[in-house]
């Protein structure tokens, strides 16, 4: 069940092995996230939350093109009665285009698995989004706002959601080779079904990231 995130990790490692001439900079980073997931099922709202730990790398091919890979895993504990705690692992790979300093466009895929004591579920999302950014402190601290949409989401054992979108904000700090960031993201998935009984999911993530520019 953990195979997909491993594949993503391998892909991330492969990025680091790209020909040196094609790489202008490489940033390796670790992440620590708090994830809260809310699911409405049959009128009941379940809430699980917990930490995820991960690592990844961003390889900049040029001033306007970079590739990012990331893997993370952790355990989400039940926060409401009737909810089941679960382990969660996810991997992401995305290509970022930066047409100008204030705007970036992301296109990528996320693979996520969640396992409870009795079942497991795999999510595969193709996502795209736009990120608007501005320097809060020139050259040091940057604030961003993101909007994302997932036009293709497949969830094992579930029909594909009718609606999958999200948004978020970020703070990115740069000082020499050190890069640090705090990113908040919010994702919403509305699955098909009658209004009262339809499955709804929301996931909020607050991810701290510390990176180091290797080259």
């Amino acid at each position: 069940m953990m195979r997909a995130p491993v594949v993503m990790a391998v892909a991330a490692m492969t990025m680091l092995a790209l020909p040196a001439a094609a790489q202008r900079s490489v940033v390796a980073f670790t992440t620590g996230s708090i994830v809260e997931q809310r699911v409405r099922l049959d009128g009941e709202v379940e809430r699980v939350a917990g930490p995820l730990w991960g690592a990844g790398a961003t390889v900049a091919m040029s001033d306007w093109l970079s590739v990012r890979g990331r893997v993370a895993s952790g355990t989400l504990s039940a926060r409401t009665a009737g909810a089941d705690g679960r382990s969660m692992a996810e991997g992401e790979i995305a290509v970022t285009l930066v047409p100008d300093r204030w705007v970036a466009v992301d296109v990528g895929a996320v693979v996520r698995t969640m396992e409870t004591s009795i079942a497991s579920q795999r999510w595969i999302e193709l996502r795209t989004g736009v990120e608007l950014g501005a320097d809060i402190i020139d050259g040091a601290l940057r604030g961003t706002v993101q909007l994302t949409i997932a036009p293709s989401v497949s969830v094992s054992g579930q029909p594909a959601p009718d609606l999958a979108l999200g948004g978020g904000t970020g703070l990115e700090y740069t000082n020499g080779r050190l890069l640090a960031g705090l990113r908040y993201s919010f994702d919403r998935y509305d699955f098909p079904g009658n209004d009262a009984a339809r499955r709804l999911e929301q996931r909020s993530t607050l991810m701290a990231r510390v990176g180091w520019r290797i080259r």
């Binding site: 050259g139 908040y184 919010f186 919403r188 909020s204």
Partner: protein, 352 residues
């Protein structure tokens, strides 16, 4: 009628030619007369030579006589009269020649001692200080000199100066007793520096040690510096070419607003994008993100208020300024090398 007409035409042609030809050939006729006189003089037909020479210098001579031709005529008159033993008359003609050409001399291979003695006496009785006309010259002031040929007809104190026409110090390039022709050199330096380009005058001032009489002559000329083209130094960097070294007064507010905008977005996204049935309960993550963004804006606001300077930009600007200074030092060094190759050019005459 036809014969009359032809006769009138012929007469007209003769009259016209009679008026033009003597003027056109006046110099040639004087040259011819002088050549004939010299030939007779050398063939010891002195009397015939004297007659022709006197006609050349006569005020009633129909021929034009240049200064040089007149000097030649006076010279051979003096020489001829010296041979005939008319020493005083000889001296008179030699003095007339010296007045026009103080460089006058007699070739010892062609003129007798008697003639030489008469000229020497004429030189003692006359006094003139002069310089040969200047000629264009280009020279390396580090290794070469331009030479001025000056003369006094007899023993005198002679001073030769280079005087800038506009202003500035003069260069005294000769100041001592002398007699006869002397070549005076000048390397182009005035007061330990190369003479600046511009108009100058060569002054030759002589004071006779026999009579106390003073004579002087001046020649205008100009000096030009000849060297490889120099590079212009780069101008100081303009403010528009440098990065801002201080934040604008509004920069702090701008940072605060950006931070607050991100904070607002963090709060609004789950409210606007979330499903109503799932929004119950606290949303601590978005509040944390909003607090962090607002805090960042406030910190940036305070930092910029307290320290509006931008150290990174100052450092980058200083690097650029230092690079500009270094580039100019290099240009100045290259220009100095080119100036060291300066050649001076003397151009006779007043600059136009």
């Amino acid at each position: 009628m036809s014969i009359m007409h032809k006769a009138l035409s012929a007469a007209l042609v003769v009259l016209v030619l009679a008026g033009i030809v003597p003027q056109a050939g006046a110099q040639d006729n004087t040259d011819e007369a002088l050549r004939q006189s010299v030939t007779w003089y050398e063939n010891l037909e002195v009397e015939r030579a004297l007659g022709l020479l006197r006609r050349v210098i006569s005020p009633s001579s129909p021929f034009e006589v240049s200064r040089e031709q007149r000097v030649t005529a006076y010279k051979y008159l003096g020489a001829a009269l010296a041979i005939l033993g008319q020493k005083d008359s000889s001296i008179v003609y030699f003095r007339a020649a010296l007045e026009r050409d103080p460089f006058l001399d007699l070739d010892p291979d062609r003129f007798t001692n008697q003639e030489q003695a008469a000229l020497a006496e004429a030189k003692r009785r006359s006094f003139a200080a002069a310089s040969r006309p200047l000629t264009a010259k280009r020279w390396d002031p580090a290794r070469e000199e331009v030479t001025f040929s000056v003369v006094t007809t007899h023993q005198a104190s002679l001073r030769v100066e280079i005087q800038p026409v506009d202003s500035g110090p003069r260069a005294v390039i000769y100041d001592r007793e002398t007699e006869g022709v002397r070549d005076v050199g000048w390397n182009g330096v005035i007061a330990t520096r190369l003479a600046p380009a511009g108009p100058y005058e060569l002054h030759v001032i002589g004071r006779s040690l026999l009579t106390g009489r003073v004579d002087s002559v001046s020649f205008p000329f100009s000096i030009r510096h000849d060297f490889p083209q120099l590079e212009d130094t780069l101008p100081p960097l303009l403010a528009s070419e440098l990065l801002p070294e201080r934040h604008a007064a509004s920069a702090g507010r701008s940072s605060l607003l950006k931070g607050l905008a991100v904070a607002s977005a963090a709060l609004l996204i789950p409210r606007l994008g979330g499903h109503g049935d799932l929004s119950a309960g606290s949303n601590g993550l978005s509040a944390t993100a909003a607090t962090a963004a607002a805090g960042a804006g406030i910190v940036a606001f305070v930092v910029r208020r307290r320290a509006p300077s931008i150290p990174a930009n100052i450092a980058r600007n200083n690097v650029r300024r230092n690079e500009r200074v270094a580039a100019n030092i290099e240009i100045i060094r290259r220009n100095a090398e080119r100036l060291a190759q300066t050649r001076l050019v003397l151009l006779p005459g007043a600059p136009r």
